[in-house]
C-alpha cells in the first residue's frame, strides 16, 4: 500500500531515510512515498488546501505548519488523533509543540519538529549579549556612534515573519492576541510591542532593508558582516559556518531578548506537525506510519543531519545532539516557556490583519495600534471582510 507524504523539501535526506526505514519496518504493510512541496510555507499551504478542499484522496500524510491546525481541523481536512495513537505521539513531547497540534481540546496532528528564534550576536563587537530589546537597540546605537557594524537583523517584510516577531513581543510582554476561544485580547502589551518595533525601525540600529527583510535575507546581510545582532532561527548557525567563516568565527548566541527586564521571553513557536488527511483511503496505516516517522531515532537524525529542532524532550540530552546543536539548552528552554501565535480557523485572515497594521514598521503608530488591531482582527475573525 502506498502512502503519500506531502512535506516541505527537506534537503538533508533525513526524511527520505525515515520514510524508507519506516516502510521497511512495516513489513510491506505500507510504502511511504515522499512528495516535496515548495519551500515557502504559504505556497505549501496553498498547494495542500486546494487538493484537500477538492477531496483529493491521493494525500495521506501532510506536514502542516504549526499555524494551520485550527483551520485544517475546522474545515474537516484532517482526522483527529485518539486513543493509543494520540498517546503514542504526545508522550515526551515538549509542551509548546504539543499545544500547536491541539485545537479545541483535541489532538489533530503529531509534532515532528519545532523551531524558535534566538539572538545571534558578534562576540567581537558585543562583549555581553543584551538581555532586553531596549538594551539591544541601545547597544546597536552605541556601536553606530563608534562607526562599527551595528545593525539588528530582524524580519520586517510584510509576511508571516512580521507576525512571528510581533507575537513574540506581545507574548513576552505578558499578553496575547487571541484567547483559545478566539476572544480578542489585544491590550497595552500590543502597544508595548509596537513601540519596540517602531523604536528599532526609526533608530540607526535598523538595517535599511528592514521592511523587506525575511529570514533568508536577514541571514545574507548578517554574513556580509554589517550587523552586530540577528534575531533568527538556528539554521543561521550552519549557514554562516558554511558561507562566511570570518563572521562565524565571532558568532555567539543568547536567549531571545526580553521585553520586561528580568522576565524570560515567550517566543513564537515554529515547526511542523503531521496530520492524516480526511480523504485518505488508508487512514489507519497513515496513523501508524506517522507514529514511526516521529520516533526518537528519526527525530534525532532530522536534528543532527537536517538541523530541525526535535519536539521530544529526551533528545535534547543526547550527547551527539548536544554536539551538533551547541545552543540546545536555549532552544529547549524556549520551547518549554513558549509563545503561541493565535490559534484560530481564520488564521490566514488574522495574520494578514496583523501584517497590514504593522507594515511598514517605520510607519507604526504605537498609540493607535490597539484600536486598529482590535478592529482589523474583529473583521478578520468574521472571515467575510476584505483585508
Amino acid at each position: 500500500m502506498t502512502l503519500n507524504w506531502y512535506v516541505f523539501p527537506e534537503p538533508s535526506g533525513s526524511f527520505a531515510t525515515a520514510a524508507a526505514n519506516c516502510s521497511k519496518a512495516s513489513n510491506g504493510a505500507y510504502q511511504i512515498k515522499i512528495n516535496f512541496l515548495s519551500n515557502s510555507s504559504d505556497q505549501q499551504r496553498i498547494s495542500l488546501v486546494r487538493r484537500l478542499a477538492a477531496g483529493d484522496s491521493s494525500i495521506d500524510i501532510l506536514a502542516m505548519d504549526v499555524d494551520w491546525t485550527a483551520e485544517f481541523a475546522d474545515a474537516k481536512w484532517i482526522r483527529p488523533w485518539t486513543g493509543t495513537n494520540a498517546a503514542a505521539v504526545s508522550k515526551g513531547v515538549l509542551p509548546g509543540p504539543l499545544k500547536t497540534a491541539t485545537w479545541n481540546g483535541r489532538l489533530y496532528a503529531a509534532p515532528i519538529n519545532s523551531n524558535t528564534q534566538l539572538l545571534w550576536y558578534r562576540k567581537d563587537l558585543v562583549p555581553h549579549p543584551p538581555k532586553t530589546w531596549n538594551q539591544m537597540i541601545d547597544d546597536a546605537i552605541q556601536l553606530a556612534k563608534e562607526g562599527k557594524p551595528h545593525y539588528i537583523e530582524e524580519q520586517g517584510a510584510k509576511y508571516e515573519g512580521l507576525t512571528v516577531w510581533f507575537n513574540s513581543l506581545v507574548n513576552s510582554a505578558g499578553g496575547q492576541i487571541l484567547s483559545p476561544t478566539n476572544k480578542i485580547l489585544v491590550d497595552h502589551t500590543s502597544e508595548t510591542a509596537a513601540k519596540i518595533m517602531k523604536r528599532l525601525a526609526d533608530s540607526p540600529a535598523a538595517d535599511p532593508a528592514l521592511n523587506v527583510a525575511m529570514e533568508g535575507s536577514s541571514e545574507t546581510n548578517w554574513e556580509h558582516g554589517i550587523a552586530a545582532f540577528q534575531i533568527n532561527y538556528p539554521f543561521v548557525w550552519s549557514a554562516a559556518k558554511a558561507d562566511s567563516p570570518s563572521v562565524f568565527k565571532h558568532m555567539g548566541y543568547a536567549p531571545f531578548p526580553s521585553v520586561t527586564p528580568g522576565v524570560a521571553p515567550r517566543v513564537s513557536i515554529g515547526g511542523y506537525n503531521l496530520g492524516v488527511s480526511t480523504h485518505s483511503k488508508h487512514p489507519q496505516l497513515a496513523f501508524q506510519a506517522i507514529r514511526c516517522l516521529v520516533q526518537p531515532a528519526n527525530q534525532a537524525r532530522d536534528a543532527i543531519k537536517g538541523g530541525l529542532a526535535p519536539v521530544l524532550a529526551s533528545i535534547y540530552n543526547q550527547p551527539s545532539f548536544e554536539k551538533a546543536y551547541p545552543f540546545h539548552a536555549l532552544i529547549k528552554a524556549q520551547l518549554e516557556r513558549y509563545g503561541l501565535r493565535p490559534q484560530t480557523p481564520a488564521y490566514a485572515d488574522v495574520t494578514l490583519a496583523i501584517q497590514d497594521t504593522l507594515s511598514p514598521t517605520s510607519s507604526i503608530d504605537p498609540s493607535s495600534v490597539v484600536s486598529t488591531l482590535r478592529g482589523d482582527i474583529k473583521n478578520a475573525l468574521s472571515s467575510q471582510a476584505l483585508l
Binding site: 475546522d74 521592511n211 523587506v212 476584505l386
Partner: protein, 312 residues
C-alpha cells in the same frame, strides 16, 4: 490580434442589409456558422463557463475553510468589497501604476518604433534585439530587477548612491515597479506602433514636406492620425495588461509599502484566505473595470477614425 477591436464598428452597419440577402449568401452564411461552431463551443466552455461560475460564486458565502457556512447571500460580498477602504486603496495603486507606466511606455515605444521604422541596415536583427526584454519570462525579469534594486546585492542603489533600500518605502517601490514594467513592455508597445507606422504612405509625408510642413507637423498631422488604430490597439492592450499587474509586485514585495494592486488583493483573498465568494466579487469587479477601460478606449478613440475599418 486586432480583429476583436476591428469587427465591432463594422458589424453595426451590416445589420440593415440582412433583409436583402440572396439565397446563396444566406447559405454561405449558414455554412460559415457551421464552420465556426466547434470553435465557438470550445470558447463557451473555456471562457463563458468560468465567467458565469465566478459571478455565481460572488453571490455566495463560499469559503473553503468553512464549508458548512456556505449559502446564497446576494450582493453582500460586493457590499463588503466596496465598503472596505483597502479596495479603494488598491484601485488607486493600480490606477497610478497603470497610467504612469503606460504613458512612459507609449512615449518610449513611439520613439523606438520610429527608430526601428527608419532603420536602414540590420533591421531584422535590431528589431529582434529590441524585443528581448519582452521575451523574458515575466517572473524571471521581476526577480532580476528585484536583485538589481535591493540594497545589498543590486547595482541600482550603488549607481545612485542610495543609503536606504528603495524597495522598503512607497516612493522607491513605485519607481522600481514602474521602471521594471516599462523596461519589460516597451518593446511590445513599440512593435504594435511599428505596425501602425507601416500604414502611413510615404507619398503623403513627402507631399507634406513639399508643402513646407516641418518634421513635428508631419508627425502630428499625418503620421499620428493615420496610425490611430494602431495606437488604440497598443494603448488598449497595454492598459488592460498593466491594470492586471501582479507578478512584478508579487516578486518585489508582496504588495507591501502601499503597492498592493487589485490582482494582488484578488490573489490573497482567493488563494491565501480561500474565500471564494469574496474573491470572486473582486474578480468580477476587476472584470468590470477592464470592460469599462476597453469601452472607453474603443468609443473614445475609435469613433470617427475611418482607418480602423480600412486597416482590416
Amino acid at each position: 490580434m486586432t480583429s476583436g477591436t476591428v469587427t465591432a464598428p463594422q458589424s453595426a452597419p451590416a445589420k440593415p442589409q440582412r433583409a436583402h440577402l440572396s439565397d446563396r449568401a444566406r447559405a454561405e452564411r449558414n455554412l460559415g456558422f457551421k464552420l465556426v461552431a466547434p470553435a465557438l463551443i470550445v470558447m463557451v466552455a473555456v471562457t463563458a463557463y468560468p465567467l458565469i461560475s465566478t459571478v455565481v460564486l460572488s453571490l455566495q458565502r463560499a469559503d473553503l475553510r468553512f464549508p458548512d457556512a456556505n449559502k446564497f447571500i446576494g450582493l453582500s460580498n460586493y457590499g463588503a468589497v466596496l465598503r472596505a477602504p483597502v479596495w479603494w486603496q488598491v484601485v488607486w495603486h493600480t490606477v497610478i501604476i497603470t497610467v504612469v507606466s503606460v504613458s512612459i511606455q507609449f512615449v518610449l515605444g513611439m520613439l523606438l518604433a520610429l527608430a526601428m521604422h527608419r532603420m536602414i541596415f540590420a533591421r531584422g536583427t535590431l528589431r529582434a534585439i529590441a524585443l528581448v526584454p519582452y521575451a523574458i519570462v515575466a517572473v524571471v525579469a521581476a526577480y532580476s530587477w528585484n536583485y538589481a534594486w535591493s540594497l545589498t546585492s543590486g547595482w541600482i542603489p550603488k549607481l545612485l548612491g542610495l543609503s536606504s533600500d528603495p524597495l522598503s518605502h512607497p516612493f522607491g517601490s513605485y519607481v522600481a515597479i514602474i521602471v521594471t514594467e516599462v523596461w519589460k513592455n516597451t518593446p511590445f508597445m513599440a512593435l504594435l506602433l511599428l505596425a501602425g507606422l507601416a500604414l502611413v504612405p510615404d507619398e503623403l509625408l513627402e507631399a507634406a514636406k513639399v508643402d513646407g510642413a516641418n518634421a513635428w507637423q508631419r508627425f502630428i498631422r499625418i503620421t499620428v492620425p493615420l496610425m490611430k488604430p494602431a495606437i488604440l490597439v497598443a494603448l488598449l492592450f497595454r492598459t488592460l495588461d498593466a491594470f492586471r499587474i501582479f507578478d512584478t509586485i508579487y516578486i518585489f514585495n508582496q504588495g507591501a509599502n502601499g503597492t498592493e494592486s487589485i490582482s494582488m488583493l484578488n490573489y490573497s483573498t482567493l488563494l491565501d484566505r480561500l474565500n471564494l465568494g469574496l474573491g470572486s466579487a473582486v474578480s468580477v469587479l476587476l472584470f468590470v473595470f477592464v470592460g469599462i477601460i476597453a469601452f472607453v478606449f474603443i468609443k473614445g478613440f475609435g469613433a470617427g477614425s475611418g482607418p480602423i475599418g480600412e486597416s482590416s
